[in-house]
């Protein structure tokens, strides 16, 4: 059965377990927004794939069961109909672009306006040239739309789909970005190195060593963490699916990723950008603890570091004083 396999697998997988096709369970506001948007996308994808494959299968079965007479069209009629539906396509394209661009006024507007004008001019020139080459006067836009038949509804539906997906994505992405402004926040630096993650915490109080850890990041629960992601060598990407999306670490740039964990626990993460031989082992783990435990952890880390630094200093002094 041609092409029935894909929708069957899709539907089967979807019904078998929502767990299997869903993202990792979200434990932060940011990840929750991504997850919701993902479900919307998944529904759209499944519907589109199913529609295309079922239509394909149906078309093939139908033509096999009843031999339809070979369709014949007078070539010139066909040409005319096709030319006019080309124009409707162009009009549609224009419409979509203008609406889309109007929707994202947050962008560097000037660049977009220039692009839009250029595209619009190109479309108009194209539309006019179709009419001129046929050596006929350009029909009224209404007549063209009428001739184009079913293309217009289909094109409009696709445009509506694209625009609504665009708007929905912006809404959810903006929500995901505001990892709740109220309450406490801390700033931690995550440094990607071949092939380790290093975390630098703010010093618990002045005059003590500045604590850091490798591999394991400890953060307090219900606190906004502003993770400043940097790299000292090649490109990496910090990726802990349950807490936040991924954010690339690019040398020379600081990439800020904010998230607020809503439950204590251990969350696994990895590096998502290919970085060479040890890439597969470049993993990390985030431990979310209570605020008190976090304080204890950081000050213990700090004390430990201070002690070992003092020991080293003492050792150096002792050696230099040796005769």
């Amino acid at each position: 059965m041609l092409c029935s396999i894909v929708p069957a697998i899709l539907l089967g997988a979807a019904s078998a377990s929502a767990d299997g096709v869903g993202l990792e369970p979200a434990h932060s506001h940011t990840a929750a927004q991504s997850s919701t948007l993902y479900w919307i996308a998944l529904v759209v994808i499944v519907v589109l794939v199913a529609a295309i494959n079922i239509a394909l299968l149906y078309a093939i079965r139908r033509s096999r069961s009843s031999r339809v007479a070979i369709a014949r069209q007078a070539p010139e009629t066909a040409e005319r109909a096709q030319a006019s539906s080309g124009v409707s396509m162009v009009i549609l394209g224009l419409l979509v672009l203008l609406v889309g661009i109007a929707l994202i006024s947050a962008l560097p507007a000037a660049a977009l306006i220039v692009i839009a004008v250029l595209i619009a001019l190109g479309c108009i020139a194209f539309a006019r040239s179709i009419g001129n080459r046929r050596g006929e006067p350009v029909a009224s836009p209404l007549a063209l739309l009428r001739e184009s038949g079913v293309q217009l509804p289909v094109g409009t539906a696709l445009a509506a789909l694209a625009i609504s997906l665009f708007v929905i994505s912006i809404v959810f992405t903006d929500r995901a970005r505001e990892a709740s402004a109220d309450g406490d926040s801390i700033q931690i630096t995550a440094t990607g190195q071949q092939w380790l993650w290093r975390y630098d915490y703010p010093a618990p109080n002045a005059g003590v060593a500045h604590p850091f850890s490798y591999y394991r990041l400890v953060v307090p629960v219900d606190t906004t963490v502003n993770l400043h992601i940097v790299s000292t060598d090649v490109a990496h990407s910090w990726y802990v699916p349950e807490l936040a999306g991924k954010a690339d670490a690019i040398p020379g740039k600081v990439h800020v990723l904010s998230f607020r964990a809503d439950e204590e626990g251990l969350y696994n993460g990895e590096s998502a950008v290919f970085s060479g031989q040890g890439f597969a082992a470049m993993r990390t783990v985030v431990q979310v603890v209570s605020a008190d435990q976090y304080k204890t952890y950081v000050s213990d880390l700090s004390t430990e570091l201070q002690d070992s630094q003092d020991a080293v200093v003492k050792e150096i002094k002792a050696r230099s004083e040796m005769p």
Binding site: I9, V21, L23, V49, S63, S88, M89, A235, K246
Partner: protein, 566 residues
């Protein structure tokens, strides 16, 4: 009486005056020195299919390594080398030359040209491609690149990868793209200047439109990538700091330049495949393509939209959110042209009377496979979803569905469709069918589990995964599926080789096509056409059949339909 000047076909004039035949030279000498578009096209297609075999083996080796958790079949360095070479092979040595090869062979025939406009330029393009492929694969003599499919800076800087593998990769990419640009210039000039009398732009077949659009696309994106690899070589050997982050360069610059190229290449493969499907499906549904101009307009829209969507690949990079929405806008806008093309192809099938021969089977399979890839690309375009799914195996699966559907399934549909024209023989039908079903099952089994592994967080391009992450079963299934897919691909390659000499003979027009290439004998003579027909519509061959029918008094329903032997 002379016909009107505008429609007159010039009488054949003797162009060579000779009193003896030229000495026959060995066949390989003829091929190697030939600038004829059919020879160049055939060599490109043969080369591309050869590299498809190599890419399939490389993919199979990688999947073997990834079949069980923490496998030690390959060490990380070998895996990374295979991965990097596989990326180049699949895109630059298989998919793009396959598309260009078909364009180069078929387009002059379709538009009624006796040769391409700039044959020596095309020939140079072919040999630059061969030189680039040689440079890439000769790096196996020392140390191949291990920097990944799209080698992101600054991993490619000399500090991190001091050996010459990256240089070989950069040089070969530059050479190959320069070759593709030459071929594209030749193609574009040909379509612009060498069309048969009466072949107005609106009568140019969809596949030739796709060729013109693809040529423009390569002329735009090729130089961007050539510039990028040149800057990379300057960085590596002349103390340049274009991409070195610590010394003031910008690693993001590489990402922008390379993604502009790769997004364009992705679109080019799909433009080729939809162009080919727009020829194949009407021929087998025995019905003109629905809304030809909408399809052509959509193909033309894909090129700029696809390139402008390059930021869709950089949604996790440190760029401002506005630019992420910019990338998302253009990526989502491609829904409209893709949707219209697929809709019109399906609409053509709906009213048609379908013959399920091998090319049609592959065409239907291609639509099915591509639809999964394109639909799941929607998820990767939505910013907050991309933050979760980018660079996971979910994106590997989406890309492979689109490009395996586009280059392999639609590419094989094109191969089966035009094989009789190139060799005079049809490809064996039963082996084709077996190969198709093997490939179809294999491709879905190979790539679908990767979607599921991706949403569980499995990162792409790793040489091993860990059993604790719950993706063991998915990876095993994907490895089995890849094996099945590779077996299917090899079956078609064997079928093609065997059919060159052993296939059933095909006449001028085995499928009842509508465009001019079916007017020429199979295989076409050096000059393609003895007499160029006067083109009166976008279905010139139907006009010729009708004219023949009128003259012989038959009904036009059955005229000119030569059924193939197989």
């Amino acid at each position: 009486m002379t016909p009107p000047a505008s429609t007159a076909v010039q009488p054949n004039r003797p162009e060579i005056a000779t009193d003896r035949y030229p000495e026959p030279r060995p066949r390989w000498t003829e091929l190697a020195t030939s600038a004829a578009h059919k020879d160049i096209g055939r060599m490109l297609i043969t080369g591309a299919l050869g590299f498809l075999f190599i890419a399939a083996i490389e993919l199979l080796l990688m999947r073997l390594q990834l079949s069980i958790p923490e496998n030690t079949f390959l060490d990380p360095v070998t895996f990374n080398r295979l991965l990097s070479i596989y990326g180049s092979t699949a895109i630059l040595l298989f998919a793009l030359p396959l598309a260009l090869g078909f364009f180069y062979y078929v387009v002059p025939l379709q538009i009624g040209a006796r040769s391409t406009a700039l044959p020596r330029l095309g020939q140079t393009g072919l040999w630059l491609f061969i030189a680039g492929a040689t440079v890439l694969y000769s790096s196996f003599l020392f140390t191949p690149t291990e920097a990944g499919v799209n080698p992101l800076s600054p991993l490619t800087e000399k500090v991190f990868l001091p050996n010459n593998g990256v240089d070989a990769w950069a040089a070969s990419t530059g050479l190959i793209l320069l070759g593709f640009i030459f071929l594209s210039i030749d193609l574009l000039t040909t379509i612009r200047n060498n069309r048969a009398p009466g072949m107005a732009w609106r009568r140019v077949p969809v596949f030739s439109w796709a060729a013109a659009i693809s040529s423009w696309l390569i002329i735009f994106i090729g130089p961007v990538m050539i510039g990028a690899v040149t800057m990379l070589i300057i960085d590596r050997h002349f103390n340049g700091i274009f991409f070195a982050g610590e010394s003031g360069g910008s690693p993001l610059l590489w990402q922008h330049l390379s993604w502009i190229f790769f997004s364009g290449a992705y679109m080019l493969i799909l433009i080729f495949s939809f162009g080919a499907l727009s020829e194949i499906i009407p021929a087998f549904a025995r019905r003109p393509l629905c809304n030809r101009n909408v399809v052509i307009g959509s193909l033309a829209a894909l090129a700029p939209l696809g390139v402008l969507a390059w930021l869709q690949n950089m949604l996790t990079a440190p760029i401002s959110i506005g630019w992420m929405y910019f990338g998302m806008l253009f990526a989502l806008a491609t829904i409209i042209p893709f949707g219209l093309i697929i809709f019109n192809l399906l609409a053509t099938l709906f009213g048609g009377s379908i013959r399920m021969r091998a090319p049609m089977l592959y065409a239907a399979g291609a639509i099915s496979v591509i639809s999964v890839g394109l639909a799941s690309e929607i998820g990767h375009s939505m910013v907050a979803v991309a933050w979760q799914l980018k660079d996971t195996t979910d994106s590997t699966a989406a890309t492979h569905y689109a490009l395996v559907g586009g280059a392999v399934f639609a590419g094989f549909a094109a191969l089966h469709f035009w094989f009789p024209k190139m060799t005079g023989r049809t490809m064996g039908e039963s082996l084709s069918r077996m190969s198709f079903w093997t490939m179809f099952v294999g491709a879905n089994l190979a790539f679908f589990p990767l979607f599921l592994a991706g949403v569980q967080g499995e990162v792409a391009d790793t040489y091993k995964f860990f059993g604790s992450t719950g993706v063991t079963l998915y990876n095993l299934l994907a490895s089995i599926g890849t094996f099945v897919l590779v077996v299917g691909v090899i079956m078609t390659l064997i079928n093609a080789v065997l059919s060159i000499t052993g296939g059933p003979r095909a006449g001028h027009d085995p499928w009842g096509g509508e465009s001019l290439e079916w007017f020429a004998p199979s295989p076409p003579p050096v000059h393609n056409f003895d007499v160029l027909p006067d083109v009166r519509s976008n279905q010139p061959l139907r006009d010729i059949r009708d004219a023949v029918a009128r003259r012989t008094g038959e009904t036009s329903e059955d005229a000119g339909e030569t059924q193939p032997v197989a």
